[in-house]
Symmetry: C2
Subunit: 225 residues, 2 copies
DNA sequence: TAGATTGTTAATCGATTAACAATC
DNA sequence: TAGATTGTTAATCGATTAACAATC
């Protein structure tokens, strides 16, 4: 296989990609305050990161800074947003209109971040036909046909975890290319299909673990005094 | 400073901690199927991970396996749940009763994972006094007093991002020790206060980046044929 | 100019993977 | 016993941090 193919198999380093949206918050604040240029030093200080790390992250997006000056704020914002694809919107389907599914359908911010949830599906006949934040809930039977007809690439799974694999199978069979999985279930999908897990449980586990360590440290410190 | 203090400053490796809940899903499936023992090989295969990685993660929880046999399923489940603190529940306050805040208040699963959201607060007078999933929404003025009286350690922030820092300040001042931050805002808190970020935007950015790479790879592969 | 900042190369660090002896 | 699996030590890998020349 030629090297060019191999080279595109990997996306940009994911830790870097995940930091980019946080830079944008700070940069837009700078813009609001009328700042014209900003340095990695300032960004890094605000986000409690290493300046070199920020510099490498920004370089990923293709921007070139000026030594001693920094980066033009407007240009940097545009560069990051283009890199993240926040300019051209992707359409997505959502499956499972429970508490979380409804909340996601209500997030207007997604559209400014390149994601438009254009349809919602549910297996529960009682939910089908109802309207959630202006979108009618459709029956699962319509999923496959609509994915193909509307060239949908992204499926969002917000069903109970026991149903997640089954829904993933249906989405993949219908031709979806990426799944945003809000269940803790580890999905099995064919090679080449992207699964991004967004279930909250791992984050909660990390929170508990860190809190426990912090409380123990504080307790020990107290005992030493 | 003595070495013992230093040693407790760090929690367990967070990547490991984040994987533990996913092991539990598989283990409980095993239990339901009547399996008595399970090996790292099986867990790793199911979750598409390296067996050694799984073994080290499990060792973190203190369990000891039997060569050639594996681990007793029941014991392993108990070991992980104890390690994660899913047995003894922590009380938490939630601030910001919008779409997401309401959805979180509706998640009954949190209680089985050691988190009980005991009260909700909002700055909007129109929301104060209403009831969400059986909990009355309280005014921000009551926050500080109740945190202290109820010995609350965890604050959940689900307000609009512009209000996040202000809410974090109020929580910290009231004596909270850990913040589960559902906004993209990078919070500034005193040393020793834990901030776990759970905003969806970084995950969405990773999804987009990976999808883009996957589509490009597929396209290149198509061109080569 | 002087010096803050960029871009880049090298060193470090931590997590993952490989290797292998011990063992039920 | 034979061999699958554990626990552990060593090697690898990737991300972060340090060092430093180039430069506006």
């Amino acid at each position: 296989m030629p090297a060019t193919l191999e080279s595109t198999l990997v996306s940009a380093p994911l830790p870097s990609v995940r930091r980019l949206p946080r830079y944008l918050v700070f940069l837009k604040e700078c813009r609001n305050l009328g700042r014209v240029v900003v340095s990695c030093t300032h960004i890094a200080e605000y986000l409690a990161l290493d300046p070199t790390l920020v510099r490498k992250d920004l370089a990923l997006t293709g921007i070139v800074g000026k030594p001693r000056i920094g980066y033009p704020v407007d240009e940097l914002i545009a560069s990051i947003e283009t890199f993240l694809g926040w300019n051209n919107t992707s359409d997505a389907f959502l499956v499972g209109v429970g508490h979380l599914g409804k909340a996601l359908l209500g997030f207007r911010e997604f559209e400014a971040r390149g994601l438009r949830i254009v349809a919602a599906f549910d297996a529960d006949p009682a939910r089908v036909g109802t309207s959630v934040h202006g979108r009618e809930v459709l029956p699962m039977e319509k999923l496959a046909n609509l994915v193909e007809r509307m060239h949908i690439h992204i499926g969002i799974i917000t069903v109970p975890r026991d149903a997640a694999q089954q829904v993933a199978d249906a989405l993949v069979k219908a031709g979806i290319r990426a799944i945003w999985n809000f269940t803790i279930t580890s999905l099995h999908v064919p090679e080449g299909i992207v699964v991004e897990n967004a279930d909250l449980t791992p984050s909660l586990a990390a929170l508990s673990s860190r809190l426990k360590a912090a409380l123990e440290t504080a307790e020990e410190r107290r005992m030493l005094v």
